[in-house]
């Protein structure tokens, strides 16, 4: 008697590992790798964000202009008409003797094309390579920044991933109501672009009669105050400092106990800030956040030490959001919402309940039918079927897959399809037995004949599932994964597993010869 054949042993291993590895998923409080529930089942917020990459190119140009301005002022080189237009920086050097100095400086900036006309008028553009690089970096930076912000926000398991060229997927299972959601969205969307800008005191009085174009003539822009759009400021377009030079930002309170944000600049930022304030005593400095002027205090003395503050009637929540955003860095480019799915926790719970009920009810129906139709062979098939479910769950757990609603439907469906391999085999064996072939031969031939059909049928389904995975998004991917794992598992359990069981029981079947009981043959 050969009870322990290799197929049976392998199958026993599959059963053992299947049960062992799927336990953490069934009892979620156990340790170990487990399947996590998708947002549609546990509730939460899923967003697809698009990065406005052209903005990053724009801000790159701005920073180039800023450094040109800083350098020429430091070296006392006189330039005029420093302007940015459609990602082109123009300026005119007044003294031709200083051309070499200017060229030397420009040569240190990477990734730009420099053109000059009449030797003195400079036109600077970014190389295509640099534009692509800047776009690429802006997406990476946005992913990093959003992740940082959400980490500091204190949500459980935020998941931020890049998708495709310029898109970002954000998944927040911790979001349970629309208030939390609003907070999270605000935090993510805040560009947190801090700029310290010089107020053009020479023309400050004319600001209310100027148009955008008039202001541009002088290299200025008109900005509104944050809490009052009627108050306007005329500031130099090119900022003195940007948020990039910030190393820390915190919420503090001023004398009247209003929340403010204090920030600390890095060493080069502190030097630039010190130099600028020393030269501009008596003038105003505008603190600009995301294109709005928050305050424009007078410069009374040189400010060393490189720290500053933003005040502007914030609520505490607002102030802490801005501080987080400043700390984790500005977004070089703004993000827009492309897709949003939010599921309340109660709906998720209902979905699980319904799908689980359908899964169990469908499964029981199949079990009863198989045993009724095939007798003992049906019981063997059911063992394979149950093992199949354990294997699907454990493989998903190993890969840390998430179970979504379509994924659950996928499992339900695999149960239906996994029966197929068993049915094909059982039918073959029945057929051969009826032809009067011996039991052991019928089983052997039945399996070998069924194998080709099962393989061909399953491989084609698998190919479709792979395409589904490659071209699907989110939930569809989950569905494709469960189906693929299910197909592979069903081939193991049906071809190897049940064959092993038959081999072990062969002598018993031989001595009983009761085909009705064993294979349900009438």
């Amino acid at each position: 008697m050969k009870i322990l054949n290799y197929r049976f042993v392998v199958f026993l291993f599959c059963i053992f590992f299947g049960i062992f590895l799927s336990l953490p998923s069934f009892f979620q409080d156990l340790g170990g790798k487990k399947i996590s529930l998708g947002l549609d089942l546990q509730g939460g917020l899923h967003m697809l964000l698009g990065v406005n990459t052209p903005e990053a190119v724009n801000s790159k140009m701005k920073s180039i202009a800023t450094s040109i301005k800083y350098f020429t002022q430091k070296e006392d080189i006189l330039i005029e008409e420093l302007k940015i237009n459609d990602n082109v920086v123009n300026f005119l050097v007044l003294d031709s003797d200083e051309i070499s100095k200017v060229n030397e400086m420009l040569n240190e900036i990477k990734g730009i094309d420099i053109k000059t006309s009449k030797d003195l008028y400079y036109t600077i553009t970014l190389t295509q390579e640099q534009i692509d690089l800047t776009k690429e970096q802006s997406v990476l930076q946005a992913v990093e920044t959003i992740r940082n912000r959400l980490d500091q926000f204190g949500l459980s398991e935020p998941n931020v991933m890049r998708q495709g060229e310029e898109d970002i997927v954000v998944q927040l299972p911790g979001i349970k109501n629309s208030k939390d959601e609003q907070k999270a969205r605000d935090l993510i969307s805040k560009p947190a672009n801090l700029e310290l800008m010089a107020v053009d005191e020479n023309r400050a009085d004319e600001v209310y009669s100027m148009t955008k174009e008039d202001a541009a003539e002088y290299g200025n822009i008109i900005l509104e105050q944050n809490d009052n759009s009627y108050t306007k400021y005329l500031v130099k377009e090119i900022p003195i400092l940007t948020g990039r030079q910030i190393v820390d930002a915190q919420v503090a309170f001023d004398q009247s106990n209003q929340p403010i944000i204090t920030f600390v600049l890095n060493s080069s930022g502190a030097r630039i800030f010190g130099d600028f304030t020393a030269k501009n005593i008596g003038k105003r400095l505008a603190v600009v956040l995301d294109g709005k002027v928050y305050s424009a205090p007078n410069i009374n003395e040189r400010i060393g030490g490189g720290s500053g503050q933003i005040s502007g009637g914030f609520s505490l929540d607002e102030a802490s959001n801005i501080a987080i955003a400043l700390r984790s860095g500005a977004l070089d480019a703004s993000v827009k919402m492309l897709e949003k799915r939010s599921v309340g926790p109660s709906l998720g719970a209902d979905s699980i309940k319904a799908a689980l009920f359908a899964l169990i009810a469908g499964f029981l129906l199949v079990i009863f039918f198989m045993i009724y139709y095939y007798g003992y062979a049906g019981i063997i098939s059911v063992i394979a079927l149950i093992t199949n479910i354990f294997i699907i769950v454990s493989v998903m757990a190993i890969f840390g897959a998430t179970l979504t609603l379509p994924g659950m439907a996928g499992i339900v469906l695999t149960v239906g399809m996994a029966v197929d391999a068993n049915v094909i085999i059982n039918e073959r064996i029945r057929e051969l037995l009826k032809q009067g072939i011996s039991i052991s031969q019928s089983i052997e031939n039945g399996y070998s004949k069924a194998l080709r059909a099962i393989l061909d049928a399953n491989i084609t389904t698998l190919l479709v599932a792979i395409i589904l995975y490659a071209y699907g998004t989110g939930p569809i991917k989950g569905f494709a994964v469960t189906i693929s794992i299910g197909i592979l598992a069903s081939m193991i359990t049906a071809i190897l597993g049940t064959h092993g069981i038959y081999d072990s029981l062969l002598s018993k079947i031989n001595s009983s010869k009761n085909f009705r009981r064993w294979f349900g043959i009438v």
């Binding site: 919402m337 492309l338 339900v412």
Partner: protein, 323 residues
């Protein structure tokens, strides 16, 4: 228990013209539906916003409609009951790109006066994503067909591949027709269901074709119609049985799986029924209709065998050091 006696051969092929006519009728009917009524694309593909709300009492649909219709931004929104009387779904063609503004929040603010409710789901899909999803969906469908065509041609023969693709298209078109007829909202999950039908129906068809392939090499029968009848009859109990078990599962999913997967389950239900029908009556009929030649196939197989034998002989000679 046995449903079909294994040794009985049913005369499927002599009635194939009536089956093919029935199928043609269904396909034309479906196509007319698809092109006149059109598919009811949900927000996944058309873009827009969907809000699912559950009230404590019965949802006051009339009141909600009146409130939303009086607001110019949401004039063309539609609303319907979802699963129960307490629950409704509001669909709005608009979507917002701005992260700080949320249509869902705006609607809930507008509906404050209608009673106590809980917002259970807000889905927003921008137009760009919708287009992208539609495109990738079509690519997936198209690629699947090509891969199937290649694989089946490789494992069987070109005519088997063509017949199986026709059977597939048959199933998919009729399923789409039913989706049209019952105004099922077409979202990503329906696409997944359609692709599952593809896999399922193919599975069924290939099992039948495998029998025919086997029959050609093992049976002496040289009349294609008789051979096909024999082989389809032999797989009949398997086809019915598998369909039945899958049917059990899909029906429970349809009846008890919850409103959200209802459309998905419905599509599968149609797919299982049509898929079973097509693999028994349609796929093999097309094989006969395409004038598949047993003799050619046998000759080809024989040639393959001969080549393989020659190769083996050469190898044997080589190993014995004769070349």
């Amino acid at each position: 228990m046995e449903i079909f006696k294994n040794n009985k051969t049913y005369e499927f092929m002599s009635k194939r013209i009536s089956f093919l006519s029935l199928s043609s009728f269904l396909i034309i009917f479906s196509l007319v539906l698809i092109f006149t009524k059109g598919l009811n694309f949900g927000i996944d593909f058309s873009g827009g916003t969907l809000i699912q709300i559950k009230y404590i009492q019965e949802a006051p649909i009339k009141k909600i409609r009146a409130i939303l219709n009086s607001n110019k931004d949401y004039k063309n929104s539609s609303m319907s009951q979802f699963g129960s009387k307490e629950e409704i779904v509001i669909r709005i063609a608009k979507s917002s790109q701005d992260l700080s503004v949320d249509i869902g929040d705006k609607i809930t603010a507008l509906l404050k006066s209608t009673g106590n409710f809980e917002v259970r789901r807000v889905d927003m899909v921008g137009p760009k994503v919708g287009n992208q999803l539609r495109q990738t969906g079509l690519i997936a469908l198209f690629l699947s067909l090509i891969v199937i065509l290649i694989y089946v041609s490789f494992r069987f023969e070109v005519r088997f591949a063509i017949a199986s693709i026709i059977a597939l298209l048959h199933d998919v078109i009729i399923a789409l027709g039913m989706i049209c007829l019952f105004r099922i909202e077409v979202n990503l999950d329906i696409l997944a269901a359609i692709l599952t039908i593809l896999g399922y129906s193919l599975n069924d068809t290939i099992i039948v074709f495998d029998r025919i392939r086997e029959g050609i090499t093992t049976q002496k029968e040289s009349n294609l119609e008789k051979l096909v009848n024999m082989c389809v009859s032999k797989t009949l109990s398997r086809t019915t049985l598998t369909s039945l078990t899958t049917f059990f599962v899909v029906v429970t999913l349809f009846l008890f799986g919850g409103e959200i997967i209802n459309g998905f389950a419905f599509t599968l239900l149609v797919g299982v029924i049509v898929g079973t029908y097509s693999s028994i009556f349609i796929a093999a009929s097309f094989l006969v209709q395409l004038k598949f030649s047993i003799k050619d196939f046998k000759d080809k197989e024989a040639l393959k065998l001969k080549r393989k034998k020659e190769k083996d002989d050469m190898r044997a000679m080589y190993e014995q050091g004769r070349i």
